[in-house]
């Protein structure tokens, strides 16, 4: 029981932790951890979402936020944008240049990230500068653990291709 509380507290302090990271940090065996997580999920204290090739674990009450976060990091370009914005505020032109992606593609992704509330925009003179609007530690952890499969990478390329052809939706 004490072990289970330790797992629960760890998940509450680090929402979005992956199974692998949890096992490593708490020095737990796979079977042991699976057993406790199963119990915690049954009790409705935690839930998990599989994105890419990783399963992220969140504490209960984090459902809406988890959805937003995982959507925000679901494409490669968005992950790169978020990591870039952690270095400091940037406008769309600067982001496009640093990532070597077309401006319409960046424009589409910034709009989506803003809608998800993970990025905020601020007018500075004639341009709009963006910064992250979420706990950087959580974002970096989620992005670092993200492992897209081949199909996902192809889908990401298609999204960038279509978004780059114009203003997107």
């Amino acid at each position: 029981m004490e072990r289970r509380n330790e797992i629960l507290n760890y998940i509450r302090n680090r929402p979005g932790v992956t199974f692998r990271e949890l096992a490593r940090e708490l020095k737990l065996g796979i079977g042991d951890l699976q057993y406790h997580l199963g119990k915690l999920e049954k009790e409705g204290k935690v839930f998990s979402r599989k994105v890419g090739r990783r399963r992220y674990i969140f504490p209960a009450g984090f459902e809406e936020e988890a959805q937003r976060l995982l959507m925000a990091i679901s494409t490669e370009t968005r992950r790169k944008i978020l990591l870039l914005l952690m270095e400091g505020e940037m406008n769309q032109g600067e982001i496009a240049e640093k990532l070597g992606v077309s401006q319409p593609t960046i424009s589409y992704h910034m709009r989506e990230l803003e809608k998800l509330g993970v990025v905020k925009a601020r007018r500075e003179g004639k341009s709009v500068v963006y910064s992250t609007n979420y706990d950087p530690e959580t974002l970096v952890r989620l992005i670092k653990e993200y492992r897209p499969g081949l199909w996902e990478r192809l889908a990401d390329s298609l999204i960038d291709l279509l978004a780059g052809m114009g203003e997107g939706e």
Partner: protein, 83 residues
């Protein structure tokens, strides 16, 4: 050999359909939905053609195939136009 190429065509069309659908789920861009439908119809068209060649379908498929071709091209057009 021809059969092998036909099967490869269907598999590729279905793979592209899967990629487009995954892109739609991630982005909700309308263009990706049009592409999903286009690749699905393309695969279906190929299945109809193979069925006719191997005499599984006995009647004339000319109209069906032509209609599917128009629909596929229309969906590609929509994907470019109505992003």
């Amino acid at each position: 050999m021809e059969m092998l190429l036909d099967v490869a065509t269907i598999l590729l069309a279905l793979a592209l359909m899967g990629v487009s659908y995954l892109a739609y789920r991630k982005s909700h861009l309308r263009a990706t939905l049009y592409l999903t439908l286009a690749f699905l119809l393309f695969a279906f068209k190929k299945v109809v053609e193979i069925s006719a060649e191997s005499r599984v379908i006995q009647y004339d498929i000319g109209f069906i195939v032509d209609t599917l071709e128009v629909l596929v091209l229309l969906l590609f057009f929509l994907a470019l136009w109505k992003r």
